[in-house]
């Protein structure tokens, strides 16, 4: 185990150092631009996105009187992450005026349909969950659906 770990660490360091070597070979101007993005990404995540997530959870837990149903949390996770990663497309950040084949959908409508569908599934799953819990408590066979 120790030998394997030692080998993997040496291999990993070797591979990463090769990457640094290739990056340095691309010139000083390229390095500064790349470093800005490398550091900027971490700062944006750790300094902005993570605290916002913590704050949102905090507010929700204070506002909601009881624990949120599982489908609501999973639905929120799906909606927030997918929206975040679709945002460059939804906001049409890469739009080129003379190219009709690029960003050629109505992404606002797409997002509304996606959000609506998520909401629908979350509502259905929550109601189903409540009913089965109720049956579980009232009926002779707890947990049976």
């Amino acid at each position: 185990m120790t030998a394997l770990r030692g080998f993997l660490i040496a291999l990993g360091v070797g591979i990463a150092v090769w990457g640094v070597h290739v990056l340095l070979g691309l010139g000083r101007h390229n390095l500064i631009a790349a470093l800005t993005w490398l550091v900027g990404g971490v700062v944006l995540h750790d300094g902005v996105l993570a605290p916002i997530t913590i704050a949102v959870f905090f507010v929700i837990s204070r506002v909601a009187r009881r624990p949120l149903p599982v489908p609501v949390i999973v639905g929120g996770l799906v909606l927030s992450t997918v929206t975040l990663l679709a945002s460059p497309t939804i906001l049409r950040l890469g739009l080129i005026k003379d190219n009709d084949s690029l960003l050629d959908r109505n992404y606002t409508v797409g997002w509304l349909v996606f959000a609506g569908l998520t909401l629908l599934i979350v509502t259905a799953a929550t109601l189903r969950g409540r009913r089965s819990t109720k049956e579980g408590h009232d009926g002779a066979h707890p947990g049976r659906r």
């Binding site: 993997l8 090769w18 990457g19």
Partner: protein, 397 residues
Amino acid sequence: MGLTELRERTEALIATVPDEDDFTSRLRSPAVAARVGVWLGLCFGVCFITGLISHEAYVTHPFIAFPTRPVNLYRVTQGLHVISGTAAIPLLLVKLWAVFPKLLARPPKSVRHLLVEALERTSIAALVAASIFQLASGLFNAAQWYPWHFHFRATHYSVAWIAIGSLIVHIAVKLPLIRDVLGADIESGVHDRASMTGTPPISRRALVRGALTASSVAVLTQAGSTIPLLRKVSVFSPRSGNGPGHLPVNRTAHGAGCVAAALSTDYRLTLTYGTKQMVFTRAELEQLRQRTHDLPIACVEGWSKNATWTGVRLRDLLDQVGAPRGKDVKATSLQTRGAFGTTTLPSQFVDDPLTLLALGLNGETLPLDHGYPARLIAPDRPGVLQTKWITQLEVLA
């Protein structure tokens, strides 16, 4: 302000920053991080290998000569590259969420432990920075948004090595912990911090499933430009698959600054081999034997689409100047703006019977934005190397 006062104030300030133990949720546990990490590692592995294949396809003289068959190879590997990168984003966000308290852990007091911790934190900083960089730059590139000043392909390639190298180090460092938590039930408290006393609204299992669901939904909503079956449901796909000649375009003739030259009656194609030279008008090219092949356009952004191309077989054209087999060909475009105005087609593509100097697309005259008067189309080549608006072909020695 005295030195003692400064120290006291600094310590008071540090005390206001939350500590690792201020996070009491049982969800932010190694059991969750390791399980999401396995899927994330799988995505990174696929991304890395398909990325290396893409790099091989781009360089003129790669480590291994890029094959011309199967014709859909690059289409599949690059589609997989973008899909696995997309799938990784929700997983990375959940993984970072699960380990976030670690960032705020107070450093150990002993010098020896401090040194080990500093080394581990350096490797994790490299891993996190490289991971965010790769996924963000890849995502923006797929959405055709380039808000940076670095050379995308070369930088994305070099940072991939840093990401994979630091990932291997991370796995090696955490191996005993990974083994312990994966061997135990997900809800068990193995390696949990003592401060994890809060009761979360969902189970750890539900959180991991939620992360995988988010990852799958992300792929479904994005991958339509790669997988034709998903075209209708991929509401966030940057391309619906339409365009001139029923095929999308990356760079238009206007964007390449060659509209006038491409439409000019003075257009000529010059074919050179050593001292031999032939010049063709478009009408003369149309008089040569025409062939029709179905070949895909597959771009680095992950989008691809099959099309029917008609034109002169490149090999037939080269035979006219007596060029032998096994020679690379330099193609020069009319474009005045943008990269890849000149490309080199390796000999295996030059000699392939499917490689065409295309004059027509899907039964119509080649549209201007697809490279009118003539463009290259070869099997299993990245789209940007399928040079458009060709004015010169030179057989290299």
